[in-house]
């Protein structure tokens, strides 16, 4: 841990009372779907803990993940996370640059050997020996291996780090891979999303700080508290879905009445995330509420699912697989199935052309 002073004392000196601390713990317990009674335990644990050293590595990324966590149009509870951690290395946020920055990273690794947390955003290019992305003359692959060696845990934030994201999309010229393909033998948590929800990032860090272990994860290593339900499960437009009321185009009467966007390509039914319940920008809205279907950005390979505006019944498989399978349907699935598939593809292509 970075400072010898317990967090509770440090925050009190900064004017953050135990009440505010308890409020923050209550908020985090709520986000993490923990019982309300856990808040007191979390507050006590965090108050006694020291600031957690965090090293943030940015590879093939757009900085959206950092913006999601750090950007706020008004002070919010999420920002308290920066009081609880010591962000010892971060390209975008740190004051130093160049060799001084790399020295800061290695110093933090030495000072907190075995205890620091590594956060990674962006995928890692591996083609050509990793030449497609290098920092201070060191490939991303090498920097990742060096930094995680003595880390306590690794958190892959954003869909690029968790699943490969846009860089990994077909044809993947840089050989981009997710963090999970390169990090073995370390506790790994994936917090996908393009970008990921700030509450998911902060809540996961607080859980680690409070309980010393990752939260409960799903099969894709995503915290169940944020990725345990689909967008569809908590969508306020589900009532229209149940009644068969669908918008047919983005400007028709149904769209103006706020009907379900399923037929306009909404991937809500197959996307696990908390957007529909927590919403974005301080709880103001989320894509569906703003009139656009979910694009499934927290799921693997969402860029290659056959188009953002293709309705789910036409297939969510990769485009390069769908056509050959349909063409081969006459042998494998029967002539009728192939004709139906070709008809749907033609209709969807016609709709996209419009």
């Amino acid at each position: 841990m970075t400072d010898s002073q317990p967090l509770g004392e440090m925050l009190r000196e900064r004017g953050v009372s135990r009440r505010a601390f308890l409020k923050y713990a209550s908020y985090m317990a709520s986000l993490m779907a923990l019982p309300p009674a856990a808040a007191a335990t979390m507050a006590q644990s965090m108050a006694q803990a020291r600031r957690q050293s965090v090293i943030w590595l940015s590879f093939q990324e757009c900085t959206g993940c950092t913006e999601s966590l750090a950007r706020s149009f008004s002070p919010s509870l999420e920002e308290m996370i920066f009081d609880l951690i010591s962000l010892d290395y971060h390209h975008t946020l740190q004051a130093v640059s160049g060799e001084a920055a790399e020295q800061a990273r290695r110093q933090a690794m030495r000072d907190h050997k075995g205890k620091y947390i590594v956060i990674v955003d962006g995928s890692v290019p591996t083609a050509g020996g990793g030449v497609y992305s290098a920092i201070a003359g060191q490939s991303n692959v090498a920097m990742l291996a060096e930094t995680v060696e003595h880390a306590a845990a690794v958190i892959a934030v954003g869909t690029c780090a968790a699943f490969g994201g846009l860089p990994e999309a077909d044809p993947n010229p840089t050989g981009a891979v997710p963090v999970s393909k390169l990090v073995m033998g370390k506790p790994l948590i994936n917090i996908p999303g393009c970008p990921p929800m700030p509450q998911a990032m902060a809540g996961t860090l607080v859980h680690l700080l409070s309980f010393g272990k990752p939260p409960e994860l799903d099969a894709l290593l995503r915290p169940l508290a944020f990725f345990g339900e689909t967008i569809h499960d908590r969508c306020y437009r589900r009532q229209f879905y149940k009644r068969g009321l669908f918008a047919k185009s983005f400007d028709d009467a149904g769209a103006r009445k706020g009907w379900c966007l399923y037929e306009l390509g909404c991937k809500g039914p197959v996307t696990y995330n908390a957007c529909a319940s927590l919403k974005w920008n301080g709880g103001v809205s989320f894509p569906i509420q703003s009139g656009h279907g979910c694009i499934g950005c927290s799921e693997p390979r969402f860029w290659d699912r056959g188009g953002l505006y293709k309705a789910l019944p036409t297939g969510t498989g990769e485009r390069r697989r769908v056509v050959p399978i349909a063409a081969a349907g006459g042998a494998a699935l029967g002539v009728a199935a192939a004709a139906l598939a070709r008809g749907r593809l033609a209709a969807a292509a016609s709709k996209e052309a419009k």
Partner: protein
């Protein structure tokens, strides 16, 4: 049509079943508090699929009591005693008054209200230092 100012989609009537379920759970917890003054628990409204109508219906059923507190803690927190002693409606907001999360706390006093021992000790030291010049 001015879609920006159009009314939001109309929702189904509030789910009365869910409101009743929450009230039943609160009744059990309040009974526990009546038997043990140290009892302290809460229902996290964020975790429930309550729409605005159901939330308002629940608020009306619980009513208002004698106490209303406004706390300034990294944004505002409002604690309102309901018409049922021991049930408190707690709404946490950020600096822009956006509701961050809400709870119904079942306790003699919500844990946020009493001054914490460590804060009291620090305050005693501070006041003593101020008075001693």
């Amino acid at each position: 049509m001015d879609t920006l100012n159009a009314p939001p989609p109309r929702c189904d009537p509030p789910d009365a079943g869910l409101v009743e379920a929450v009230l039943q759970e609160l009744a059990v917890m309040l009974e526990a508090l009546a038997g043990d003054e140290q009892f302290n628990d809460a229902i996290d409204l964020h975790s429930l699929p309550l729409d605005d109508g159901a939330r308002e219906q629940l608020r009306q059923r619980l009513g208002r009591g004698e106490i209303e507190a406004r706390l300034e803690l990294a944004g505002l927190t409002y604690i309102v005693e309901t018409a049922y002693a021991g049930l408190w409606w707690v709404r946490h907001a950020d600096a822009d008054e956006h509701t961050v999360f809400e709870q119904i706390v079942v306790a003699r006093v919500p844990p946020l209200l009493p001054a914490h021992g460590a804060d009291i000790a620090a305050a005693a030291r501070r006041l003593g230092a101020e008075l001693s010049g």
